[in-house]
């Protein structure tokens, strides 16, 4: 029987198998940040265990960091302490840290690809569920808990049962204005937030083959929102062109040798999956969510479905929406363009392209947060910042920001926010805040109009 892309990468990293038990999986790259690492460092210290391979770890500060005045001391004492601890732990253990203010600093899932740390065929982990992002390169990448962070520190390995496999194919051509985020929200709305649990997903078909690396990252990033540990896309010329020339990418002959190896990372024709789903690109429209999990999404021109389930009713009550109603015309006062899902240069280009020559609605507070220092720099180099400023917006400094509202960037109680992030859970963006997930295009349009509009009518 043939092997899937996932099988090929997984099997190559199995150190050993415990009879009737899990396998020992070797981890190539370990990404860490300030929030989920301190307790793992403490475990090793308490038990007097050294870190096995500190050179395979890369650290950044992102979850907790302010997005204004990053040159000043952080006001919140707990946040400041958490960052100080990361700095101390990294220095003590010889771990490369791209801390606040460093030219490579940014959201961990934005910086690792842009620095060329993420490469096809790797196994990668991080104490963050959106580690699934890196699967866009044909890597096995997944989020882990802090106990597992400690395990990787100690042994560069994890004990895991091999997950099941799922393939999601989307074929055909996407309509104008339909972005990778819409594809992800559409699939999650169709399959639900638990459909992927226990599985690794391979995304295949025309739509993903034609997608840019940044679009593929958006899709793989959202695979955790359907419960999957990770998503993957087979590496191809698009992948190699993206990786080539980046800081940590192999060079010259070493790069060509790697490409030859990466070319084998494709699912065999006779391989089988535990589950398969196929969708048509032409059925997908710009999406928006109306509820409190990412599976509660509709076409932006559609109506909230009818459902008498108690959890569904609780969700709509929190959001202040009625079943059967349309979201078009709803006033929105907050827009967030950012997060590891949609804070890369292409996302800002989409927004700038729509915003150019228009003015921000007076009721709108918009937070535009680049994913990294490098994205911020490129925004300036391309002159996009001028477009934003002329339209009445300002750019903030990089970080996770209002995606999870750990820092000061909180959406106020009761306010709606159209957000390019990944989770619309109750209170995710601030206590009592109501999140509507959408693409950067829908976010930009909302910021200009001050309300939700049917973007498809404006495009065609």
């Amino acid at each position: 029987m043939g092997k899937t892309l996932f099988d090929k990468v997984w099997d190559k990293h199995v150190v050993d198998s415990i009879p009737d038990g899990p396998q020992i999986l070797y981890i190539d790259k370990h990404l860490i940040h300030e929030v989920t690492s301190p307790q793992a460092f403490s475990v090793l210290e308490e038990r007097n265990i050294p870190l096995l391979r500190p050179k395979q770890i890369v650290a950044t500060a992102d979850h907790n960091t302010p997005t204004v005045n990053q040159h000043l001391p952080i006001k919140d004492i707990l946040s400041r302490n958490q960052l100080a601890k990361l700095t101390k732990n990294c220095a003590k253990n010889n771990i490369e840290l791209y801390g606040l203010g460093h030219e490579n600093n940014g959201i961990i899932h934005v910086i690792a690809p842009e620095l060329g740390i993420t490469q096809p065929g790797m196994t990668m982990v991080c104490g963050d569920s959106h580690t699934s992002t890196h699967g866009a390169f044909g890597a096995i990448a997944f989020g882990i808990g802090t106990s597992q962070v400690a395990q990787v520190f100690a042994s560069q390995c994890l004990l895991l049962d091999k997950p099941k496999s799922m393939r999601i194919s989307v074929n055909g051509k996407l309509q104008n204005g339909v972005l990778p985020k819409d594809v992800a929200l559409y699939v999650i709305a169709k399959l639900g937030t638990d459909a992927g649990t226990g599985h690794f997903i391979e995304f295949s078909g025309d739509v993903f083959e034609k997608m840019t690396m940044e679009g593929r990252m958006t899709v793989c990033n959202m695979s955790i929102e359907m419960g999957a540990r990770g998503g993957m896309i087979a590496p191809d010329q698009t992948t190699y062109d993206y990786v080539k020339g980046r800081d940590f990418a192999p060079i010259n002959i070493a790069f060509d040798e790697k490409v030859a190896e990466w070319n084998s990372l494709k699912t065999d024709v006779n391989a089988t999956f535990n589950a398969e789903y196929t969708f048509e690109a032409s059925d997908i429209a710009p999406m928006i969510t109306y509820g409190t999990n990412p599976g509660m999404g509709i076409k932006i021109s559609g109506n909230i479905p009818e459902n008498n389930n108690e959890s569904f009713k609780k969700s709509l009550a929190y959001m202040g929406f009625e079943k059967g109603e349309s979201l078009i015309g709803k006033q929105i006062n907050y827009v967030f363009l950012g997060s590891c899902t949609n804070s890369r240069i292409e996302d800002f280009r989409v927004a700038a392209n729509y915003i150019k020559g228009k003015q921000k609605a007076v009721n709108i507070n918009a937070w535009l947060v680049p994913g990294s220092q490098r994205v911020a720099k490129q925004i300036k180099e391309e002159g996009l910042d001028e477009i934003f400023v002329e339209a009445g917006f300002e750019l903030r400094q990089p970080g996770c920001s209002a995606c999870l509202a750990m820092n000061e960037d909180k959406i106020p109680e009761g306010e709606y926010c159209v957000s390019t992030s990944n989770r619309n859970f109750e209170g995710r963006q601030g206590q009592g805040a109501k999140t509507l997930l959408a693409s950067p295009l829908v976010a930009a349009a909302t910021a200009i109009e001050g309300k939700i509009i049917d973007i498809t009518k404006y495009l065609n």
Partner: protein, 195 residues
């Protein structure tokens, strides 16, 4: 890690589906750098209103419910990988979480902290919830060795799955680090072969 054998206690019903880890422990409480104390803020925004007053209608605040077993709706623990969610539930005093379905990362995190996730059929879950709500004094027995969960009043029981390796770890209080450290030679050999 503490050894896990049998837990027999009353239970607290939380009949909500898709409870995500942001509800279990909101992100603003993740700034601590040790593992203790998260129980104070478990389900914070459901237990308290925004002024910090107790929400008396919420099951954890309802004096008629108590116990070391939390019985919850489908797809419990979805969302963020924060292990703080498992720490918070354990720190509050729970030893078992029962649901008809758990999100992957939460399940792993719970097992790594001696908090047993027990997955039951949707029918048995409904029966558990209905029975507890009707008679909060109902006791439930969870036997890890036998892999059974039993409603003591009626004797109705269901068996649950757990992989043998994790079961051994929980019964003996071992964790994965102990095991992996003993595999160092194999790991180094693997590195040499693949460098």
């Amino acid at each position: 890690m503490e050894k896990f054998t049998i837990v027999q206690s009353r239970a607290i019903p939380l009949a909500i589906e898709n409870i995500d880890t942001d509800q279990i422990i909101p992100a603003r409480f993740l700034k601590a750098t040790d593992r203790k104390g998260f129980g104070n803020n478990v389900f914070r925004d459901w237990r308290f209103d925004k002024e910090g007053n107790l929400n008396v209608g919420f099951a954890l605040n309802d004096a008629k419910y108590s116990g070391e077993i939390l019985v919850t709706g489908h797809n419990f623990g979805c969302g963020s990988s924060r292990e703080h969610a498992a720490w918070a539930i354990g720190d509050y005093g729970f030893k078992v979480v029962v649901s008809s379905f758990f999100a992957d990362i939460f399940k792993g995190n719970a097992l790594n902290n001696g908090l047993l996730p027990v997955e039951v059929s949707p029918e048995f879950l409904k029966q558990l919830l209905d029975t507890i709500i009707e008679n909060p004094e109902t006791e439930i027995k969870v036997d890890l060795k036998a892999q059974t969960i039993t409603l003591l009043g009626t004797g109705e029981s269901e068996s649950f799955e757990i992989n043998d390796y994790k079961k051994t770890c929980l019964l003996n209080g071992y964790d994965d680090i102990d095991y992996l450290l003993n595999q160092k030679e194999k790991i180094e050999k693997f590195e040499q072969q693949n460098s």
